[in-house]
Symmetry: C2
Subunit: 337 residues, 2 copies
DNA sequence: CTGTTAGCGCCTTCAA
DNA sequence: TTGAAGGCGCTAACAG
């Protein structure tokens, strides 16, 4: 069809395609008036770069791939948005893929992204399998893990919220309010970030003499529905706990649903603390107390490291970066009466 | 670097690259045992197709581009998810871009997508400028508009929720509940979908003898914040209206925020009806009555039309498709006392 | 059933 | 400052 190529422009301008290519790439070694003339012709004839050809011959695409699991979790939607914005400013485009490490088909996604010659990949996952996966592909392409790591000594570039610290902060906060018997809802044992959160919480609680009853989420995602079912399970029998720490805000929202059904008042009958600070946590009817995930900072730090790695493939900077969460006090936690 | 190409495999297998290519593309005209041998070698040597090269030489990428504005609106997040799923089943990948037609830089996004030789584009927008934009690019690439159109006679392939019908349904529903004085919050005059919603609502209201006071949203998106401010404006002075129809659910959530601030009870003091049925509308603390956007159906219909257009470029099917919304009665509307 | 050949559109040395 | 030429990895006729 009528796609106009570099060759067409060259012919019309009476120059070689090398020159046109130079102009297109902003090479300084080209006569200014020639440059302008060629640029004009490009506009005039509606020339559009074939990015496939460019990528093929240059070996760079200015594309960053990102794999994440739950775009319907506002936390991830926010992250995707922030990532896109961050990258665009730096001349990169985002190739966003939905995929869950636990699903097994994630290799296909990597192959897809690498096959498209993205310059780097951000994998948003705290799955236990993630580090191994990354190690396998790291020899082909720069990757940054946005998600928890079991062993901080691990030589995998990664950026994530300090879930262990968050768990501790949660325990301390609830303790400060006088809660000594608490429940932890939504533990995921296949997930490093959740694991750290749980461990941090449990350790601090233990130190403070609190008792913790834990409800585990066997699924691979933390949805409102899961939170709802876990909370039902919790509320169904008499309980002595005066506070609930939810593994994340979506779980907490599910807890609120269930509480309403059971005519349990939050925070009068029981306090509720979330994690992430998704946008709906701040909604007036909800006003969930929670720990802010610092999503934008996390994702921008991850992207920054990735771009560094892309631009300096040699400079091995595999130290994990942890971002501390921030307590956001709203209306769902109150002192024990 | 150590990327293994089709040529390497060919050499190792002692065949020509054409044969390897055939195997990779599932051509039946290859001896089965040769096929298996080559496949084995590919696995063994970690061969990975270069999708850029493939796209360049074949002219097809199996990529579908999608441009949408608000990934942070759960409605769009859901749509993106549904789209991705729908496409993947059919062998296509999604290249998702955030962009707003009104921002003016959308031409760059089109150029980016076309430059990457996506096979087709879905533009999610109801902006007034969208039709013209599409007409400009339609000669280069199949496009389906997912969003409202002013004139259904327009020869632009498009799929969208029937907002006019939705507006009418809203008016009828509120009328049936006894509301004769109502407010419409969040009208956007730069947006066909919102315009149709408003017109349908106004027309039906008029027919039924209802009075409508309209509050316009001058921004390019409908967020909770906008709804909040509009509602404040509304609540600030004494009002006679007994019901509010919000242009969409996010606006409605904003209205709920403001109402709480003003100690106005929904639905006791005033009824509230939304549009879209985003996931949070169903949340127990919210229970927003609304009209379901049929987001999945809309987006799948759009994608289906796009794929048809890609596969049969000749078959001109430019008739707009409208999907009727569905009333979802929850707790925010009640009969006028 | 398989190989040869000629591109796809662009970038990038190397010469001039 | 510009041009010529080769190649990026793959596909797609056309032969055989």
């Amino acid at each position: 069809m009528g796609t106009v190529t570099i060759k067409d422009i060259a012919r019309i301008a009476g120059v070689s395609c090398a020159t046109v290519s130079r102009v297109l790439n902003g090479s300084p070694t080209v006569a200014p008036e020639l440059r302008d003339k060629i640029l004009d012709l490009c506009r005039q004839y509606g020339y559009r770069r074939n990015l496939l050809a460019r990528g093929l011959s240059s070996g760079r695409t200015n594309l960053v791939g990102c794999i994440l699991s739950d775009l319907d979790n506002p936390l991830f939607a926010d992250m995707a948005l922030a990532l896109e914005r961050f990258l665009r400013v730096r001349g990169y485009h985002l190739l966003l893929c939905r995929g869950r490490v636990e699903d097994g088909n994630i290799g296909q996604l990597f192959d897809f992204l690498i096959g498209h010659r993205v310059d780097g990949i951000i994998l948003a996952s705290s799955s236990k399998q993630a580090p191994e996966l990354i190690r396998r592909y790291l020899k082909y392409i720069p990757i940054v893990l946005q998600g928890g790591l079991d062993d901080p000594q691990l030589t995998i570039p990664s950026v994530y919220v300090d879930s262990a610290a968050g768990g501790e902060m949660a325990a301390q906060y609830l303790f400060r309010l006088g809660h000594t018997e608490v429940a932890y809802l939504g533990a995921r044992e296949n997930n490093y970030s959740h694991l750290a959160r749980q461990r941090g919480f449990a350790a601090a609680a233990d130190r403070l003499g609190m008792s913790v009853r834990t409800f585990t989420n066997g699924a691979f995602s933390s949805t409102m529905e899961v939170g709802y079912h876990l909370a039902r399970q919790f509320f169904l029998n008499p309980f002595r706990e005066t506070a609930v720490f939810a593994a994340c805000d979506t779980i907490a929202l599910g807890v609120m649903s269930a509480a309403r059904e059971f005519h349990i008042s939050i925070p009068d009958d029981i306090s509720l603390l979330g994690f992430d600070n998704i946008i709906y946590a701040g909604f007036p009817h909800i006003r969930l107390s929670t720990l802010d995930h610092r999503a934008r900072l996390v994702v921008e730090t991850a992207a920054d490291r990735l771009l560094t790695q892309i631009q300096h493939p040699d400079a091995a900077c595999a130290q994990p970066v942890m971002i501390p969460p921030v307590l956001v006090e709203r209306a769902t936690c109150k002192p024990r009466r």
